[in-house]
């Protein structure tokens, strides 16, 4: 209960300050709508099903893009971590791509993939790939040599050592990579939808701006933040189930 109060104290304060600013009429209502107006806009959007439609479209894009990024980054990160040859082979290309923000490539991506779903998927994959790839790579390469030596002493083959020591040891780092990657997917998607889309939350915000509906813009912003937080929380819960030993370590003050 105390933890919950701690978590919501600052949002509640922001809400109060927002309400006072509106009451004092410091800004025009075209710039900053009242909290109640925003809430009403939220209810309207829910009742009409518009919000649900846009959220569903955005979520589907995120999961598709994130899924693709996982399929690419996870095996590539593992292979680069295990094989020096393979790492040298593709490292410079990946380093180059890593330094290009996906948003900078948007004009080219739209030119090549059009303004339909494919371009959004490419943007998400580009944004989500590196956090997962780099975390997987680092998890595999930083495996404790002393643990690997235990495998050698027990006559495990190279593949057995990878499977039973290196990959489980890398799992916590891989999970952090997945979590970061999912967050990046969500943020990149909204960026992509703000630039070229005919549906999705990003589009809803842009459309509301053109129609001078700052209340709808605010609803969009809140929904983005809340969904992002919920996805992250679900992820943390799943991670705890996947890594029971880490939970026990935290409880023991390790």
């Amino acid at each position: 209960m105390k933890k919950l109060a701690q978590r919501f104290l600052i949002p509640a304060l922001i809400l109060v300050v927002w309400w006072i600013i509106v009451k004092l009429q410091i800004f025009s209502s075209y710039l900053l709508p009242a909290p109640l107006t925003t809430w009403q806009a939220f209810l309207e959007l829910c009742a009409s099903g518009i919000l649900f439609k846009h959220v569903t479209v955005s979520l589907l894009r995120v999961f598709a893009g994130f899924g693709l990024a996982v399929l690419l980054a996870l095996p590539l990160g593992i292979i680069c971590g295990l094989s020096r040859f393979f790492k040298e082979f593709c490292w410079s290309t990946l380093e180059f791509l890593r330094h290009v923000p996906p948003l900078a490539a948007i004009p080219l991506i739209i030119l090549w993939f059009g303004i339909e779903e494919a371009s959004k998927l490419v943007i998400i994959v580009l944004a989500a790939f590196f956090p997962l790839f780099l975390n997987t790579y680092s998890g595999v390469t930083t495996c404790d040599k002393k643990l690997l030596e235990v495998g050698t002493a027990l006559h495990l083959t190279t593949w057995e050592k990878v499977r039973h020591i290196q990959l489980p040891a890398a799992l916590p780092t891989i999970i952090i990579g997945l979590q970061l990657s999912l967050g990046y997917s969500w943020r990149a998607l909204i960026g992509a939808e703000l630039i070229a889309a005919s549906s999705g939350i990003g589009y809803m915000i842009l459309d509301a701006e053109e129609l001078s509906r700052p209340d709808v813009v605010l609803v969009g912003v809140f929904v983005i933040g809340i969904i992002g937080t919920v996805i992250d929380e679900i992820f943390i819960m799943l991670a705890k189930r996947l890594l029971p030993w880490q939970r026990k370590a935290e409880n023991n003050g390790y």
């Binding site: 039973h164 799992l171 030993w245």
Partner: protein, 240 residues
């Protein structure tokens, strides 16, 4: 039936500045014996153990395992080196993950847990264990694979006095029961005398002393015979 070491040398580093960890070592260790190796830090005792375990290749010389067709050698390190993601039971059964030797294991995990005083901790994770408990699990992991030779590299040195004494007793009893060959490296002369049938003393990569310890078990560190042997070893090591 013995471990025969002939002219064993191990050097590290590039040629002009090479460090010789072991120098032309010749040694025979009977199977079934409990041999202790003592010496100051850097005397080459850990290197010898790592060579015996096959974790490193000798620069020259060779190790012959006479009377063992397919020797199974287990090594226990100074740290427990447990897999943090596995429970105590899974850690003990870790050797099972190597498919080729799957069928060879005769040790029952539950019996091992009981013998090592870990029966209530089978499902615990390493982070929930004390240092002594974790080292017991490491010992269990070695015993599970039922090795012919057990190599121990200062396994109890990081533990407190009471836990160390407790584990020394467990090890001695296991050895008296199973008669495995144990080669135990330590820098503690008292520990060497408490456990060993034979104490080898090393310095600068060579063997400088070889003592037979014919005191009856369990040994009393306060007894005159024990003290005398202690004096003998310290005299050989020197610097006292």
């Amino acid at each position: 039936m013995a471990i025969k070491i002939h002219g064993l040398t191990k050097s590290y580093g590039p040629v002009p500045n090479q460090v010789r960890a072991l120098q032309n070592l010749d040694l025979t260790i009977e199977l079934g014996s409990l041999t202790m190796i003592v010496g100051k830090s850097g005397c080459g005792k850990t290197t010898l153990l790592r060579l015996l375990a096959g974790l490193e290749e000798p620069t020259t010389g060779n190790i012959e395992l006479e009377g063992l067709a397919q020797p199974n050698i287990g090594i226990m390190f100074q740290e427990p080196r447990l897999m943090p993601w596995l429970t105590v039971q899974q850690n003990i059964e870790f050797a099972k993950l190597h498919k080729e030797v799957d069928q060879q294991f005769g040790q029952d995990t539950q019996q091992l847990l009981l013998a090592l005083g870990l029966e209530r901790f089978g499902q615990a994770y390493p982070t929930e264990l004390s240092g002594g408990m974790a080292q017991r699990v490491a010992l269990g992991r070695i015993l599970y694979s039922d090795p012919d030779i057990i190599l121990m590299d200062e396994p109890f040195s990081a533990l407190d006095f009471f836990t160390r004494r407790d584990l020394q007793k467990t090890l001695r009893q296991l050895w008296q029961k199973d008669g495995k060959t144990i080669i135990f490296v330590t820098h503690d002369v008292g520990e060497a005398l408490l456990l060993g049938q034979r104490v080898l003393i090393m310095e600068a990569g060579s063997l400088i002393g070889d003592l037979k310890i014919d005191l009856a078990y369990p040994r009393n560190p306060g007894a005159t015979g024990f003290q005398q042997k202690r004096e003998d070893i310290l005299k050989i090591i020197g610097g006292f």
